[in-house]
Symmetry: C2
Subunit: 246 residues, 2 copies
């Protein structure tokens, strides 16, 4: 036992912080921290492992892209049991689109972990999505498919993905909520404040009030997105009343 | 116990045969046979389940396609540790190409299980690959990712996929083996016979002899493919000698 405790203790202070951050983000314990480090290592560092193989996030990004594709496919298969093949394919494309993956990477603020020789501001916007895919690849390698699926389902799909919205049935939860409040003489308010903390990317937090009572919250890299997130959560609270509007 | 035995016994005679065939093909026990039945149900039957959802292989094909993509990605990631993202993507495309999937479906003779209103001969060649994908989807749904991966690795990738050949390093194992035999004064012979059994698709079996001793066997839907399969297996027997030719 003491032996194992010593191994655990031997992690450096910066590794300890990284370990805690990753654990919090993925929702379970990382086993091999070096894989997650690789997921955030940029090619510009030109690192190699002890066998001479390139050590950066690109291969993990490839693996993560593939895992993401199958996990989203499985999610949609279960979530939309009456959808045909064409619909499922189309919905998956929307969820794993470059634009959407960049948003996910931004909202998880993955750029803060990137180690790079090139200046982060010069890397281009796709880095957010690439890091997201690399993180997914790292989780798969470290903990296997089921944990990887758990991460994507709990931390991504259930929060950020909205089938009704992707389908075009609901274009704005905020708009819908305001429409409902006017018809039902309720008072809806949004309180927005910058909440960047010690992160590199600007973040916004939103509190949504109905009749002066906090109903839900949202946090994202844009004000609009944070409001929509809070509005979507409030939508589920009043769903039965709101659905009468649809 | 008697209760469960009775349940087991209650499977019909045709189900019993199907169960045994599937079990042999996938290499482990199917749990929910109805999923595999769905994987071999053609749209032309226009069946629906008790919730009114279409009951045919199309949704499973979608799921299987996605699973196949991630399992092949994971296989290549491990198998070719020095390959970059571009190489891995290209190799994966070759393995999961329509043409290759059709070959896999043919070699597993999946068409024999298809239940269809349309005549099988009128369905077109892609049915082989589509059924293969649907089978993969069924295995995933029934037994989960790890069993699905086991099936693809053991029954497909290790037998039918050849990285050296896909890379273009070796274009013909038969040719290579004959070249080696001539240089080393060994006598290589192929014995080919039709071995269709009670299957719908014509099959060929091959025995490969070196100096009148059976070294390996192959079986496939074309003579050439069966010979290559046997030659590849023989290649691994004499690999160290043959590699001196490369």
């Amino acid at each position: 036992m003491k032996f194992f405790k010593n191994i655990k203790k031997s992690r450096s202070a910066s590794d300890e912080i990284f370990y805690t951050q990753i654990k919090k983000m993925i929702g379970f314990t990382p086993k091999d921290l070096s894989i997650y480090k690789q997921a955030f290592t940029h090619t510009s560092l030109q690192l190699k492992d002890d066998k001479g193989h390139p050590l950066n996030f690109e291969r993990l990004e490839y693996l993560g892209d593939a895992m993401l594709g199958s996990i989203v496919a499985s999610y949609l298969y279960n979530e939309v049991p009456d959808a045909n093949e064409g619909y499922l394919t189309q919905m998956r494309s929307k969820i794993v689109s470059r634009e959407h993956l960049n948003e996910l990477g931004k909202d998880l603020d993955l750029l803060q972990y990137l180690i790079s020789r090139t200046s982060k501001s010069k890397i281009g916007n796709n880095i957010h999505g690439n890091l997201f895919e690399a993180l997914v690849g790292a989780i798969y390698l470290d903990r296997g498919f089921n944990y990887c699926s758990k991460f994507i389902n709990k931390k991504v799909l259930s929060i950020y993905v909205d089938i009704e919205k992707l389908e075009g049935k609901i274009t704005s939860y905020k708009g819908l909520l305001i429409e409902w409040s006017q018809k039902n003489k309720r008072n809806v308010n949004f309180e927005v404040y910058e909440d960047t903390g010690n992160q590199n990317v600007k973040h916004f937090s939103v509190k949504l009030f109905v009749d002066k009572k906090v109903i839900s919250k949202g946090r994202a890299t844009s004000k609009k997105r944070a409001e929509e997130m809070a509005a979507k959560r409030a939508y589920y609270v009043f769903q039965s009343e709101i659905e009468m509007l649809l």
